[in-house]
Amino acid sequence: MSENITAEELAELMKKAAGITVAPEELRERSDDSFDTFGIDSLGLLGIVGELEKRYGTPMPPDSEKSKSPRQFLDAVNSALPAGA
């Protein structure tokens, strides 16, 4: 099983950290849309980064909380994790 952070996990964290509910399918379909359009602000993204760092026990790349879109964010945070596994 891949350790990569998925759209499912991002959707779960958006709900937990910022109270925003978006279905994983929608996140995948709109992965190039800006976080603003989902209602996620910079503090929300910062909270998601914090959750991931606790969960995976490793720092996420600098500025990953400044990612503009879900695709950009997932690319950034997944680059911090051992590939594939």
Partner: protein, 417 residues
């Protein structure tokens, strides 16, 4: 104060979330009937504290009042503010399409004295129990006094002048005055008022140092201003938001001008210096009357600060007499907040809501739990009193030393000359 009043500020909407009613209608009905809802504190984590009685809101359901993101990102005091703002904006008949069409013509002003203590406590517990990584980023905004102003403006897309008055109780009146000034300067609509949520463990502990706080355990005995049994005040949560609007704007869109914010003044006499508050409050009343071009005899009802501390009650009774002269002993005085407690900055805004409703209905609501008044005041106790009301005076003093007075006139009536 010398600004020309070419643009008068009127109230076109009232939204209330209070211990005795989570809508303006239920609040007014309970207030008019004099139903006291003071009760033992039941909030989790507060049971062991020596503050036994408060005005809790027990029928407010945050998930049905605000969107999920605000449940996660904001404190209870902001949930109250958003809910009250929604009620006020609906009552004023302002549609989302109206405000979206001219977002810069709508601003927000709130007052706050307690802040987001429940949210802050939760995050600080995470900090000390688990470490800094467990503190959520929304801590950086949720517990600050300005949170409600910011979140209301963001949620509604308002881009007009915004402000926050971080103050003691009297700040509630000062926020409304600030809104009236913004109207005079050219903004059409201000959503203004105050809500507080001081009934959580950390916030309650912060209040235990106030010597004016009542620690009485029997609800009906805990807050009895102007009597020889006065033993301090009890706190409350909730509050009110008003739509304060330029009279011209209200007229153009056919909204009813419920009352005019006619005059306001504020003074400062120092924390817990209640004897000195006599002079400060009297001066505030004189200033408010002057701005409203209102003679003392025109005041039909006074909504008193009613702290419930003998020295403060005496000072207030004397201040009313000092400022209103012989009329001060004849004018009906009321303190409906004895039914619900004092919600810090929210307390005088709830009094303003009650005053507007009292003028509309021609009824002075009573002062529950208060009998045997020991001051030279015509305090309306026990039962509401029916009488025509055209002008109301609302008074507020804060524990930190502020004194404010606000003159309200019914409808959009021109100030008499």
């Amino acid at each position: 104060m010398s600004e020309p009043h070419t643009r008068r500020a009127v109230v076109t909407g009232i939204g209330v979330v209070a211990p005795n009613g989570t809508s303006t209608e239920t609040f007014w009905k309970a207030t008019r009937e004099g139903i006291s809802v003071l009760d033992r504190v039941t909030r989790e984590g507060c049971e062991h504290l020596p503050l036994r009685v408060a005005g809790e809101i027990r029928d407010f359901d945050p998930p049905s009042a605000v969107e999920e993101r605000y449940l996660v990102q904001t404190d209870r005091f902001t949930h109250f503010a958003m809910a009250a703002a929604d009620l006020a904006i609906d009552e004023a008949g302002l549609n989302r399409s109206d405000t979206d069409a001219s977002p810069f013509s709508v601003g927000v002003v709130t007052a706050a004295g307690s802040g987001g203590g429940e949210f802050g406590q939760r995050e600080l517990q995470q900090l000390w129990d688990k470490g800094s990584r467990y503190v959520g980023p929304y801590q950086s905004i949720a517990w600050f006094y300005a949170a409600s102003t910011g979140q209301i403006s963001i949620r509604r897309g308002f881009k007009g002048p915004c402000g926050v008055v971080a103050a003691d109780e009297a700040g509630g009146l000062d926020a409304l005055a600030h809104a009236a000034r913004a109207v005079r300067r050219g903004t059409d609509v201000l959503v203004a008022g105050a809500t507080e949520a001081p009934l959580a463990p950390y916030s309650m502990v912060c209040q235990l140092g106030y010597e004016e706080l009542s620690t009485e355990e029997v609800p009906e005995c805990a807050y009895r201003p102007f009597t020889s049994a006065a033993c301090g005040f009890v706190p409350a949560e909730g509050g009110a938001m008003l739509v304060v609007e330029a009279e011209t704007s209200a007229r153009e869109r056919g909204a009813s001008a419920r009352a005019t914010l006619a005059g306001h003044a504020a003074t400062f006499t120092g924390a817990s210096r209640w004897r000195q508050s006599r002079e400060g409050l009297a001066q505030a009343i004189r200033g408010a009357l002057e701005e409203a071009a209102c003679a003392p005899e025109e005041i039909d009802v006074v909504f008193a600060d009613a702290l419930g501390v003998p020295e403060a009650d005496r000072a207030e009774a004397l201040a009313i007499a000092d400022a209103l002269g012989a009329h001060g002993r004849r004018v009906p005085v009321t303190a409906p907040k004895t039914a619900i407690g004092r919600g810090y900055c929210a307390a005088p805004v709830l009094d303003v809501a009650a005053a507007v409703l009292a003028m509309e209905h021609g009824v002075i609501p009573p002062t529950p739990n208060v009998h045997d008044v020991c001051h030279d005041l015509d305090l309306v106790t026990t039962r509401a009193r029916a009488t025509e009301l055209r002008t109301a005076l609302v008074l507020s003093r804060g524990l930190m030393g502020s004194n404010s007075a606000l003159v309200l006139r019914r409808g959009a009536t021109e100030a008499s000359q």
